[in-house]
Amino acid sequence: MDWNDGHALGRALRDAYPSGNYVTVSDAELIDLVTALPGFGKTAVPPDAATLMAVRLAWVAAAEGEDDTSPYEGGA
């Protein structure tokens, strides 16, 4: 896995750190958690902000399930 395998990283983070806080984990902590995952490519270059956000959201998705945004959210 490398930084571009967002969905796989999300599932791996969920399984490796079941008590991890995917809401408040800092960028620096998230990088440490990902690079410590078994199977993560050690030569991977540091992620840019959008890539890191994609990984963070993939962890949220793996832990929380399907998207549940209401189509009427903006009318509230």
């Binding site: 896995m1 571009n4 395998d5 967002g6 969905h7 796989a8 599932r11 791996a12 969920r14 399984d15 079941p18 008590s19 991890g20 806080n21 995917y22 809401v23 408040t24 800092s26 960028d27 199977g39 959008a50 890539t51 956000m53 994609a54 963070r56 959201l57 993939a58 949220v60 998705a61 793996a62 832990a63 929380e64 399930g65 399907e66 998207d67 549940d68 945004t69 209401s70 189509p71 009427y72 959210e73 903006g74 009318g75 509230a76």
Partner: protein, 548 residues
């Protein structure tokens, strides 16, 4: 269709979608700036917002949005707008971008506040859009002025949701204030607040036109502040001491999440978040420096982190205020596997007023929760029980609209947008009541030129829409986890076919706009006997799969 010449000096505004005869949504505005001061030509233009229209399932469309044909260009082509400016992160303001890119269009550089930009990227990631096609993002700070397409554009904080911004667009010829969605509430806890002194200064410096949100203009009740809501929520939680309490909101209501966090802290309960859209929005906000924990004064915990705490020492905030089937409340009401537990001593608080399209679904969900023994406090019941309001519209009510016009004092015109006919009429009446002339448009396409000699409609160019129909036969195939890397529970990404519609939503061309959206697989894993359906390429002949 004859084109309308935009060749005289001034600022031109055109509502491409958002002044719809058939309901709110799909906001998209075009601004052209013609000035003599531009070194590389005298004409620049940009778009403000590119959203989808509300009403999932209407005529079978999951989304409708302003047609990009003749507006945007394809990669490698010249022309097109110089920028897309986003006022905030609601789907009716940015939700079309995820469709424009798979349709093969190039999105120009996006100017937005950091939270809005992160939410745009989230929507593209959720849609499975390849990252190399995401637009360039230029983060705009509150109060910042940026030169865009020959205009000076200032980003002005408004009260609506984190990151909400108005745009003050000024050239040497004219000036326009585009409110985006707004209200006035100095007690909203997250992000910079709308500053009446800033708005008054804009008006005093001389403003020609205001383009403004009409959604709640007919509401004559005094607005309720978020501080009052937080107080009511605190009392409700206090009166349910010793019982599990679950609160349902919408995923984007992060200010309401803070109010609930304050209610939890005041009642010595831990704050637990559940429900993907809420958790994702909160995670984006925290990562972007919008500190929900600091505002609430209590940590945000995951359900797993709170698993050892007694249920009566926790306040769970989850999704489902609009009864979405897969939300936290929706799943709990059906007792689905892994859902939040509902017991006969559970109190459920829905801190969001129902709106007409969700009324039946919400009533059914409340009935299911009650059938499982829960006590349900809806926004309506909270008022009846004497707690006071636990919800307020995010849009400007009558008092706010009047205040806006009083502060900005536009010299030439107010153009109400973002509303149905009644809402636009009400907003126009409020502008007139403080002496501001009004252009009340009940449809899209009118081109207004604002120049030193006045503001007037110079022509009407009825825009078209695209209707996105979710395909029932296939879903997008995302890469699977490597062997041994987690359970295989990746989420299917919907695949759309696109119809061309007129400005009233009637079909002009059905399924003429399908495009490559990557590899697909049959929608149901158990439908393997069904033939694999390939995604068609566009009828216009842009060939080749764009899957990578």
């Amino acid at each position: 269709m004859a084109s309308i010449e935009r060749d005289q000096p001034g600022i031109y505004w055109q509502s491409l979608m958002g002044n719809n005869g058939d309901g709110i949504g799909g906001n998209c505005h075009r601004y052209d700036v013609v000035t003599g001061a531009r070194p590389d030509g005298q004409h620049g233009w940009f778009l403000v917002d590119y959203g989808v229209k509300f009403g999932a399932g209407r005529k079978g469309y999951a989304a409708e949005f302003a047609s990009p044909e003749g507006l945007l260009v394809h990669p490698g082509e010249g022309g097109g707008p110089e920028a897309l400016l986003l006022t905030h992160a609601h789907e009716d303001h940015l939700g079309a971008v995820r469709h424009l890119l798979p349709l093969g269009y190039r999105c120009p550089p996006v100017y937005a506040r950091a939270f809005t930009a992160a939410m745009l990227n989230k929507s593209l990631a959720d849609a499975g859009v390849e990252k190399n096609r995401w637009p360039e993002i230029r983060i705009a700070r509150t109060g910042e002025t940026v030169e865009i397409a020959g205009a000076r554009v200032s980003f002005v904080a408004m009260d609506h949701m984190p990151g909400a911004t108005a745009l003050h667009i000024a050239s040497d010829q004219a000036s326009v204030f585009h409110t985006g969605d707004y209200r006035f509430d100095a007690t909203l806890p997250l992000g910079p607040r709308a500053d009446p002194a800033v708005l008054r200064a804009i008006g005093q410096a001389g403003l020609d036109m205001v383009v403004s949100d009409s959604t709640a203009a007919p509401v004559t009740d005094a607005p309720v502040t978020e501080a009052e809501i937080a107080h009511a929520l605190e009392r409700i939680v206090a009166d349910n001491a010793g019982r599990p309490v679950i609160a349902g909101i919408l995923g984007s209501q992060l200010d309401r999440l803070v109010s609930l966090g304050r209610a939890a802290k005041a009642n010595d309960r831990a704050l637990v978040l559940s429900g993907r859209s809420l958790v994702a929005n909160a995670a984006v906000a925290q990562a972007g420096g919008i500190d929900i924990e600091a505002a609430a004064g209590t940590p945000l915990l995951t359900p797993r982190q709170a698993a050892e705490l007694p249920a009566e020492k926790v306040l769970v905030v989850t999704t489902g205020a609009f009864a979405q089937p897969n939300s936290g409340l929706g799943r709990a009401s059906r007792n689905q596997p892994g859902a939040l537990s509902i017991t006969p001593d559970t109190t459920v608080v829905i801190a969001q007023r129902e709106i007409p399209p969700v009324r039946e679904a919400q009533a059914a969900m409340v009935a299911r929760l009650e059938a499982r023994g829960a006590t349900v406090v809806t926004a309506e019941r909270a008022v009846a029980a004497g707690y006071g309001p636990i919800h307020q519209s995010g849009h400007a009510v009558e008092r706010d609209c009047r205040l806006l016009y009083t502060l900005l004092r536009p010299r030439m015109l107010a153009a109400p947008v973002h509303g149905n006919a009644a809402q636009i009429t009400a907003n126009g009446r409020l502008a007139r009541s403080v002496g501001v002339p009004v252009l009340a448009l009940d449809r899209n396409g009118a081109v207004v030129r604002v120049a030193p000699d006045g503001a007037r409609v110079i022509g009407v160019q009825p825009p078209e829409r695209i209707g996105a129909r979710e395909r029932t036969d296939v879903v997008r195939q995302l890469p699977k986890a490597s062997p041994g890397q987690g359970r295989d529970s990746h989420f299917p990404v919907p695949v759309f076919s696109y119809d061309r519609l007129d400005d009233a939503g009637a079909v002009v061309l059905r399924s003429g706009l399908e495009t490559a959206q990557g590899a697909t697989r049959p929608k149901r894993p158990d439908a393997s006997a069904a033939p694999r359906v390939a995604v068609h390429h566009t009828a216009a002949g842009r060939e080749g799969s764009r899957s990578r």
